[in-house]
């Protein structure tokens, strides 16, 4: 056995290497962002993150960051490009990862067609102004001509 080609138990899957999987496609790592500044008590509905028209987007993970000095709790809910909600209710940010190394996983990956949008509902429940960036991490899938 060529141990050098065996899995390194200390390495996460990304460092082990995850290559292209499907014939006929090229996947490119990509992150869509939703940047929002909300005052106290503000609730936003049907906010949209447009998906570019050059490729379908496969959502695989979500994480968030907040600006220092404008940190606080929020609730959110996602809906797909057809308007179908991805949760039965609003989800608190305590259940959403703020780590890019360990984001909240979306499994199975969810496809957003090119030109569509990610729909977000967002509630500021912090009691202060908050500035938040939610990152939707996945791949753009480019189809190859046969």
């Amino acid at each position: 056995m060529n141990l050098a080609q065996a899995i390194n138990p200390f390495a996460p899957p990304a460092v082990e290497g995850i290559g292209q999987q499907d014939a006929g496609f090229i996947d490119v790592d990509y992150t869509y962002t939703y940047d929002v500044t909300t005052l106290v008590g503000v609730s936003l509905r049907d906010q949209q993150v447009p998906i570019s028209q050059d490729a379908d987007f496969y959502l695989r993970a979500v994480h968030y960051s907040q600006q220092a000095g404008f940190v606080g709790a929020f609730n959110y809910r996602l809906a797909d490009a057809q308007g179908y909600q991805m949760s039965s209710g609003m989800i608190t940010n305590g259940n959403l990862s703020n780590s890019a190394a360990r984001p909240t996983v979306v499994f199975p990956e969810h496809m957003f067609p090119a030109g569509s949008r990610i729909i977000i509902d967002f509630d500021n429940v912090a009691g202060v102004e908050i500035r938040t960036q939610i990152c939707f991490k996945g791949v753009k899938r480019y189809r190859l001509r046969k």
Binding site: A4, N8, A11, A14, V15, Q21, D29, T31, T33, A100
Partner: protein, 279 residues
């Protein structure tokens, strides 16, 4: 990523070497917005596959500081610049191909260089690390001359930052002799001997060399970006594992960013891997 896919293998006819390209922001100015920075990757004889990005918090301020990266064609990797935490220990899935002599494009908004300041002395630990593999044509002979099975083994080496080893571009060298059996290096760990934990002030850089004494980074890498037990860069491991035959040496150069008032500090460096036990 598909569920239960097989382990990644280097394509036939090529060999991979784990490698870290670094971007040092030491020369930038705090508070500035800097566009169109370039991290040269690849070389005349190899391509680079990007798998992990770290060190975002070392180069820009907390939000509104932001970072934007670009692929070799100049396309952004995100729809908008990201807060710095998004590039702390972030995986790239699937791996991103950078052909030889290409660049990683980089924009920084609100630069804030991480530094080690003692009185009027200041040294910078402001660095982003781009982990991946260099891929070259040809085979690397990592085969042992005997039948073997693996057994975990750790080489250890203590190193003291004495009062004379203050911040300087001149490194000191640690050499570990690989004795008796071939060895596959999987990861490095560093502990402060006084506390038994990762150094609280991790202000030094490392350059690791393979058995051919080829450096495994474009410049010395911050210890917290290279060590498996780092609290900020988990999963820093060498893929593929680095093969050192019996009788060879593991060479590690250490570059200090400390100042005299912080010294002496003694660290223990662990070279964690697998010995190839003959059977």
């Amino acid at each position: 990523m598909r569920c239960c896919q097989p382990a990644y293998q280097t394509p036939d006819g090529f060999n991979d070497l784990p490698f870290v390209y670094v971007f040092d922001a030491d020369a930038l100015v705090d508070g500035a917005d800097v566009r169109n920075l370039a991290v040269p990757v690849g070389g005349l004889d190899h391509d680079f596959y990007l798998r992990k990005i770290g060190g975002g918090t070392n180069v820009v301020a907390a939000a509104p500081g932001r970072i934007s990266l670009r692929d070799p064609l100049g396309f952004a990797l995100s729809s908008a610049p990201l807060y710095r935490a998004a590039y702390d220990d972030a995986g790239v899935v699937p791996e991103l191909y950078y052909p030889n002599n290409s660049i990683i494009g980089l924009d920084l908004v609100s630069v804030l260089r991480r530094n080690n300041t003692v009185g009027i002395n200041i040294s910078y630990a402001s660095q982003m690390a781009f982990w991946g593999v260099r891929r070259r044509r040809g085979e690397r002979n990592d085969q042992s001359s005997y039948r073997w099975e693996g057994k975990q083994y750790i080489y250890t080496q203590q190193f003291t930052f004495d009062a004379g080893f203050i911040s300087s571009p001149v490194p000191r060298r640690v050499i570990v002799a690989v004795q008796n059996r071939d060895f596959d290096l999987h990861a490095l760990r560093v502990f402060d001997v006084a506390t038994g934990a990762f150094p609280v002030l991790p202000f030094f850089k490392l350059t690791l060399y393979d058995r051919f004494e080829e450096g495994l980074a474009s410049a010395p890498v911050l210890v917290e970006q290279l060590c498996e037990n780092s609290p900020v860069a988990t999963g820093s491991a060498f893929v593929p594992a680095l093969y050192y035959p019996a009788g060879s040496q593991i060479r590690l150069d250490i570059t200090s960013l400390y100042w005299a008032a912080q010294l002496p500090i003694t660290v223990e460096i662990e070279f964690v891997g697998v010995e190839r036990m003959a059977r």
